[in-house]
Amino acid sequence: MQSEDLAKALAPVLGDRILGVEPFAKTAGRLRFRADAALDVFRAVKEDLGFHHLSMVGGIDWVSHREVFYVAWSDRLGQYLLLSTDLPADAPHIESATPVWPSANWHERETWELVDITFDHHPDLRHLLLPDGYVFHPLLRSFKLHEPEELEVKKRSV
């Protein structure tokens, strides 16, 4: 199924809640949706198109905004689908996908602590990889890796 077919199939169900479907590297496409309609989109994708298996949730910090993406797999179509949405850079939050895909639980915990995207109504949103009480979010672009002094001495330059 190509991305145009996907858009056609989803248009009657979701209407303007999807912002567009574009081709994406070797997958069925990249579905951009409105952040406030997340759960509807997830349900439609799962139940109408058979994307039962959620394989990955992640976030990207484009400095102006943040993007959260979900990768799902459909046995019926035999393809991956990437769903993504843009969130504002300050206090980004989106509805948790756990009611639709229970496997999103740990992925969302990880995304929350690394990229600082809050998932509303998540059953168990606490630190997973970092120690409890860690206040930084390392995968933000503003978080710089500290460099030991020997690295500072030897800057990489040609």
């Binding site: 039962h52 639980n105 990889l129 995968l139």
Partner: protein, 378 residues
């Protein structure tokens, strides 16, 4: 009573903590606690060149280094719009299948040790060394290979490799009979493992469990077959499934996968013998070769306006379905690298296959999951 199993515990095979609530010997609740090996690989990758990330990939999952190298290389080649030579693809797939054998042998060794069997542990480690010797013969290291490059692989096979590999495969396929006699032939083993840690296929899909755990529940899902990548369409193999959804089923699936891997490797060795050729792509951007572009003068590099791109790759790692997502913003560093670890999802479902069993069942069940903490925590 809550007890902590870990981070230093013989059951864990790595650094993680399984908090278990028990009543007598029965498990009432459990809560895996991860992150003791979180090394920030995704963050470090953002400061490295594309080829330098490969050194981190070997260490991400230290029992399946080649699989993770392949995963990352596939995604970054998509992102950089580079096509490798066909011979390089065959060599990569051969590496991955050998790595599957090595990883499953490591799993076998650790798993039987959890059951109190010390002898097969040593057999498994001994036979794994044969595979590692093969790796060393062409990549130069036992576990951290740094062998694959964006656009190909580092070097071709040394002369005489094919015959040596065939002898090793013959020897290995004889050993599987011995393993089966030691484990399946023992009534105590069957009593310990049959009907243990059951996770039905529907629960597997809901909780994101993939790999041998899913196939042991009878579901025939394998990325190599469903969404073929690399040269897998040209290869003839079968997907191993079992129908117990329990520890014995996972054992059977992994043993059968090793046999299928041997079958695949034999086909690849035949192909490699008759198709010599280059193993590295021709037109690579300068910063993928050995020396790199100057930091602080990126504008010269960007002057050439290298195309942006994204890559999403998915492979069947020995533990299950792994994914990599690489964002290329036109610089020599990846903008964002995100990995999906199969063990991450498999452990997150621990509540579903541990509750109700006994404390003594935790080691075989978690052993059958094949935990590799390096790729969970990254």
């Amino acid at each position: 009573m809550w007890i902590n199993m870990g981070p230093q515990h013989p059951m864990t095979h790595g650094l993680w903590n399984l908090r278990v609530k028990i009543d007598g010997e029965v498990i009432l609740d459990c809560d895996p606690e991860m992150g003791y090996l979180h090394r920030g690989i995704e963050k470090i990758s953002e400061d490295r060149h594309y080829n330098e990330v490969v050194t981190l990939m070997d260490r991400t999952c230290y029992v399946a280094g080649f699989a993770w190298e392949h995963l990352y290389i596939l995604a970054s080649e998509d992102a950089l719009h580079i096509v490798p030579p066909e011979r390089a693809e065959y060599i990569r797939v051969m590496c991955e299948e050998f790595q599957r054998i090595g990883s499953h042998l490591m799993w076998y060794a650790a798993f039987v040790q959890d059951l109190g069997l010390m002898t097969p542990f040593l057999y498994g480690m001994r036979d794994r060394d044969i595979v590692l010797d093969l790796f060393q013969s062409y990549s130069g290291a036992r576990m951290t290979y740094e062998y694959m490059r964006v656009g190909g692989v580092r070097n071709d096979m040394p002369p005489g490799f094919s015959a040596h590999a065939r002898r090793a495969l013959d020897w290995l396929s004889d050993r599987f009979v011995e393993y089966d006699r030691l484990c399946l032939g023992s009534e105590i083993f069957r009593k310990r493992c049959d009907g243990l840690g059951v996770l039905k296929a529907s629960d597997c899909v809901a909780t994101g469990v993939t790999g041998p755990m899913l196939r042991s529940a009878g579901m025939r899902r394998d990325v190599r077959r469903d969404r073929p990548y690399s040269v897998y369409p040209q290869l003839d193999f079968e997907v191993a499934v079992a129908d117990g959804a329990d520890v014995t089923g996972r054992y059977l699936v992994r043993m059968e996968e090793m046999r299928q891997s041997i079958r695949i490797i034999r086909q690849i060795l035949d192909w490699l013998d008759h198709h010599p050729g280059p193993v590295l792509a021709d037109r690579l951007p300068r910063w993928l070769g050995a020396p790199y572009a100057p930091v602080g003068k990126e504008d010269y590099v960007l002057k050439r306006n290298y195309p942006k791109g994204v890559g999403l790759s998915s492979i069947e790692e020995p533990h299950g379905e792994a994914q990599a997502y690489v964002v290329n913003e036109g610089s020599e560093h990846p903008y964002r690298v995100k990995f999906r670890s199969p063990v991450f999802a498999n452990i997150s479902a621990a509540r579903h296959y541990l509750i109700g069993y006994r404390v003594a069942d935790i080691p075989p069940i978690m052993g059958s999951v094949d935990v590799c903490v390096g790729e969970v925590d990254r």
